[in-house]
Structure formats: structure tokens, C-alpha cells
Symmetry: C2
Subunit: 210 residues, 2 copies
DNA sequence: GTCTATATGGGGATAGAC
DNA sequence: GTCTATCCCCATATAGAC
């Protein structure tokens, strides 16, 4: 969000205003790394190079920070996924479109955005009021997937006996779960995305014919 | 774990010792419902009908309770899955064995055990020391799946180009993610298990021939 | 915009009576 | 085996100086 990474120097570094975006950047990284509970305003302030009380100049409460991060996280992955799908004409092969969407979601989560990964990591841990505030943004992303899946099913590319809502929950849930165990040293995001597409599109059983 | 459900009466109910197992039962339910952070010893004690200080007669710390619940949760789902697989001879159709294993895992998570669901819900939220204590039990369950998948792949039932460890992480991660959204009013666990098996075994694309 | 100082509340944990 | 009472720490949040 801010134009440069914050200095993580513990103290006595160059004193330069971090501002609202700087605080959000640092907080998103900490939430992604540590989850919701362990990240206190004191830790955020220290990582940003300011004092805890100063945060209240920019935000009214801790929850306000969290909501801002959750919203930005969804918007980031939504945008990536939308662009990936737009890159294909409507009459493209269904498998290619789905592969692109899966790849975009995983890249946003594992490669690109601390905000998106923080969202997945902490959404289940934040107070109900915070979840509620994030809901409209989430719904918009879910609708994007539902539109895509509905269109592909109508075109005959997807099995007709699966409920679209359930399929979307399965797919997004499976992709988000990678955050718990993905290790770039064991393989690239690209390879992971390819495997997910293989399994979700064609299954894990040996195909009898092609 | 205890032989009967605890009375949830807020006060002045029949005073009967709840004991170690009673505390664990109540705590597991609260952790499943609320996650790790919001569940305090005071809340556990109140739900169990005792006072917070009394918990320390049975446990040395809050973490000791959490570790006991995490371990019991894995053991419960492990046992269910193992029994489900044992119900099939080694030369059964691979798809049938996998379906049974998937069904057993989902049932343990969504139907049977507060301990298993609490495990999935809070594992990512607990301190590292608690996770470490739970690791051996987890590894044993993971090995059970790896053994099954390796055997099926050796028999030619699974595609050869997928890494077993990665496949297991994909599968378990996807199944565990259902805890976030599964609603029994929208469909049974059995139906959900069937859909998961369909998609993971054969994929979501319309099959060209059978 | 950031600081220092502090109010206020709730958490885990302990000691000793019953 | 459970109670009451309490210690100690750390969280969010506020007030006012600079």
C-alpha cells in the first residue's frame, strides 16, 4: 500500500512519518505472520517505528485497522482473479479459464499480497463485528466466482449435478488452505496452481482414456 | 469424553464433581465455537459450573488443556478414518476406499467430535509450543493417509504424476475447510462427503465418456 | 503527527481455607 | 475437589504536551 517497505530497524533509524498506509502495511505483515491474537498495537507500533499511542491519530480503534486490512485483502485477490478471467474470451476452453482463475487466486495469496494472506489467516479469529464489516467486500468476490462457474456450467463444461455455491466454497476453501503449509522451497506457486487445477478439473484417479 | 453432557445451567444447579474429563468436554465445545483467543479459563470454568481457580487442581496451565484437546481431536478422526479403510479388503476398488476415508474424516469433523473440530479450528491460533506438543499425534494421522495414498498409487489407481505429500495436504486441507461454512440445514454430511469424493476423484469438468 | 503518562479492564496463575 | 482472594502482567484506549 505504501510505496516502500518500512525499515524494520528496532530503534534509532531514520525518523520519517509512516502514516496510515505505512501502519497498514506493517500490520498486514504481522497479521499474516502471527495471526490476530498475538499482534498487539504495541507490536504494530514498534514494527512501524512509532509509539502505540500514535496509532490513534490515524485509526479510531484496533478493529478499524483490521477491517481496513481485511477489505484490502479481498479487493486485491478479487482484482487479480477478475483480470485473469478477462484475459480469456468468453468462448475459450473452460479448463483454461478455470486454470487462470485458480492461478490468480493462489498467486495473490502466496506471492503478491500480505493483505490477502492476512485476510485468510485471521478472518476466522476476529470479532464478529469485524467479520460483518468485511462481508460486503467478500460477497462481491464470491459473486465473481459464482458468475464464472454458473456460466461454465450453462455452457456444459461443468457437471450439471453440482451446486455452484457448494463448488465455490470447496474450491476457495481448498485454495486458501494452502496458506497453512505452502513452502516455496518445496515448489513454486506456479507448479502448485497447476496441480490444483489438474486435480479439481480432472480428479486424482488415473484416467482410463483421454 | 465424560459419560454425560454437562449441565449448562448458569448457577445453582446440582453440585456434582465435573472432573478432568468434564472440563475437557466443555473446553472443547467452547474452543470449537469461539476459537482459541476468546475462550478464557474463566469462561471454561463457568460453563463447567466451577470457579476458575479450581481448574488448576486438574491442569497445570491453560496450554495443558489445549494440548489434551488437540491430541484427542486427532486421535478421534484418525481412529474413524482407520476403521473406515479397514472395512475394505486391500483389493477393493480404489475409489470406494477413498470415498470411505473422505466420509470418515468429514463425519468426525462435522458430526461426531467436538475435539476434532476444535483441533481444526484452533490449531492455527495456538502458541508454537502447543503446536509442537501436538505434532507427533498429527504426524501419525498424516502417515496413515500417506500409506493409503501410496498404496493406491502403486496399484495404478492414482495418477503417477502427483506427489503424495502434496496430494494429502490438498485433500485434508480441503476437507478441514468445510468447518468454516458447513451448515447442516443446507445438506447432510453424507451428501457433502459424496460431493467431495466426486470432485476429488473425477474432477468438476463434464466427463466426455465413462 | 508523534510523544509521554496513565486510566481501566481482563487475562493466567497462586495460596490457603474448607 | 472446589472455594475465595489476590498478585502481576499486558491489553486497548485516552489526555494533553510538544
Amino acid at each position: 500500500m505504501a510505496e516502500c517497505a518500512s525499515t524494520t530497524a528496532s530503534a534509532a533509524s531514520v525518523r520519517r512519518p509512516v502514516g496510515r498506509d505505512g501502519i497498514l502495511d506493517v500490520a498486514a505483515r504481522l497479521f499474516r505472520e502471527q495471526g490476530y491474537g498475538p499482534v498487539t498495537l504495541r507490536k504494530i507500533a514498534e514494527a512501524a517505528g512509532i509509539k502505540a499511542g500514535s496509532i490513534y491519530y490515524h485509526f479510531g480503534s484496533k478493529d478499524e485497522i483490521v477491517v481496513a486490512i481485511l477489505d484490502a485483502g479481498i479487493r486485491a485477490v478479487h482484482e487479480k482473479m477478475r483480470q485473469a478471467v478477462l484475459g480469456h474470451p468468453d468462448d475459450s476452453v473452460a479448463a483454461a479459464i478455470l486454470r487462470a482463475a485458480i492461478r490468480a487466486h493462489l498467486r495473490a495469496l502466496l506471492d503478491v499480497s500480505d493483505y490477502s494472506s492476512a485476510n485468510v489467516r485471521i478472518f476466522g479469529q476476529v470479532p464478529q463485528s469485524v467479520r460483518d464489516a468485511n462481508l460486503p467486500t467478500r460477497r462481491a468476490y464470491e459473486a465473481e466466482w459464482d458468475n464464472l462457474l454458473t456460466r461454465l456450467q450453462r455452457d456444459g463444461a461443468l457437471r450439471r449435478n453440482v451446486d455452484i455455491r457448494r463448488l465455490r466454497l470447496m474450491l476457495i476453501g481448498a485454495l486458501n488452505a494452502t496458506l497453512e503449509w505452502f513452502d516455496p522451497e518445496r515448489g513454486s506457486v506456479e507448479a502448485l496452481a497447476s496441480t490444483y487445477a489438474d486435480v479439481f478439473l480432472n480428479g486424482m484417479l488415473e484416467q482410463r482414456e483421454v
